[in-house]
């Protein structure tokens, strides 16, 4: 199982709100055992979808200069099961941010039906772990491109936003050096 639990961003307003979609499919290996005869999409992976949507919203807000980790699920309520063929729309809205972290209010919808409500607390990586890196910058940028994040990323005033300069620089270096991780994608036109 790859750790991608959203398929695409459809809206991304910096510092405010991000909306993504996730399609549930029988091609996901794990779903055949969960549960045998009646596959359902694990609710914890819906939490992860909102965590990825909200985590990138928080990360982008701080220019990806700090590592963001999921510290607490304050409350998650699942009103309906998600099953193969469902298209889930995840909406993450920033409630508050402090130097220590941020709070995201999240919802999952199946078409117009409220499927889940999930409130998350993110922390910036604690001081004792400063210096720990999660991703190579160029790889992380490639992942965000896969999500179509920069197709829709905009400022609150509606202006398109580019990736941070340090990531673009890292991507350029990786491409020019010929050392490409399997994640590096070419810059969009």
């Amino acid at each position: 199982m790859r750790w991608y639990h959203i398929d695409r961003f459809v809206e991304f307003v910096s510092g405010q709100r991000a909306v993504s979609i996730k399609t549930v499919s029988l091609t996901e290996d794990h779903i055949h055992d969960y549960w045998p005869g009646y596959p359902i999409f694990p609710s914890t992976l819906i939490v992860e979808g909102l965590a990825q949507t909200g985590g990138l919203l928080v990360g982008e807000m701080v220019g990806f200069e700090r590592c963001v980790i999921l510290a607490k699920v304050s409350r998650a309520t699942f009103h309906e099961l998600a099953v193969p063929g469902d298209r889930l729309t995840y909406t993450a809205t920033l409630e508050t941010q402090t130097p220590e972290g941020a709070i995201i209010k999240g919802t999952s919808h199946k078409d117009d039906i409220l499927q889940a409500e999930i409130n998350l607390v993110f922390g910036f990586i604690p001081e004792r772990m400063e210096g720990v890196q999660q991703f190579y910058p160029a790889d992380f940028l490639a992942t965000m491109r896969k999500f179509g994040m920069f197709d829709v990323l905009q400022t609150p005033e509606g202006e398109p936003k580019l990736p941070p300069a340090f990531m673009l620089e890292a991507e350029k270096e990786a491409l020019e050096s010929g050392i490409l991780g399997d994640e590096i994608a070419p810059p969009s036109a």
Partner: protein, 166 residues
């Protein structure tokens, strides 16, 4: 079993509590993405371990009466520490209250004497026949498969739960 977030049940007291273990292996594919430079168990999979332990406790306690045992609510779930490859998460879940359809549990996962994850879960149980009459046959199929999965998770259990009942 795909997506089994516990490897083994260690103890089970019906109607009360369960202890189970999940060891994180370097070969788990998602570690490649979480994270490339610092592989560790995603927080939501720690939650899934808590839920799956809870679900096996509920199923065994009612002799697999309901085919579907699903997560309804998560409350105050904190991810306090990391689990890295080679480490084991020892999961315990304790029933706080229960009625005909729902169970509230307090659960936690411990790594090397540190609480890595803790919180409360509300778990719902039902039969497909109650909600989808056309799927009534699937209830029986699912029960048989779940009993076999349980036998894999706790091979020393030799009671009737490992055999399908009529």
């Amino acid at each position: 079993m795909q997506f089994s977030l516990i490897d083994h049940i260690l103890e089970l007291e019906e109607g009360s509590q369960i202890t189970a273990i999940k060891t994180l292996s370097q070969t788990e594919e998602y570690l490649k993405d979480h994270f490339p430079l610092f592989p560790c168990m995603p927080g939501v999979l720690m939650v899934e371990s808590l839920f799956q332990a809870s679900a096996w406790l509920i199923r065994k306690s009612e002799d697999f009466a309901h085919s579907m045992v699903v997560l309804k609510e998560i409350r105050n779930l904190k991810c306090a520490d990391f689990v890295v490859p080679g480490q084991s998460l020892v999961v315990t879940a304790e029933i706080i209250k229960q009625d005909d359809t729902s169970t509230t549990l307090k659960a936690q996962g411990v790594v090397e004497d540190r609480i890595a994850v803790s919180g409360r879960l509300l778990v719902e149980r039902f039969n497909l026949a109650d909600r989808h009459p056309a799927r009534a046959d699937t209830d029986d199929y699912l029960r048989i498969k779940l009993r076999r999965q349980y036998a894999i998770l706790w091979p020393m259990a030799t009671d009737s739960a490992t055999e399908p009942t009529e």
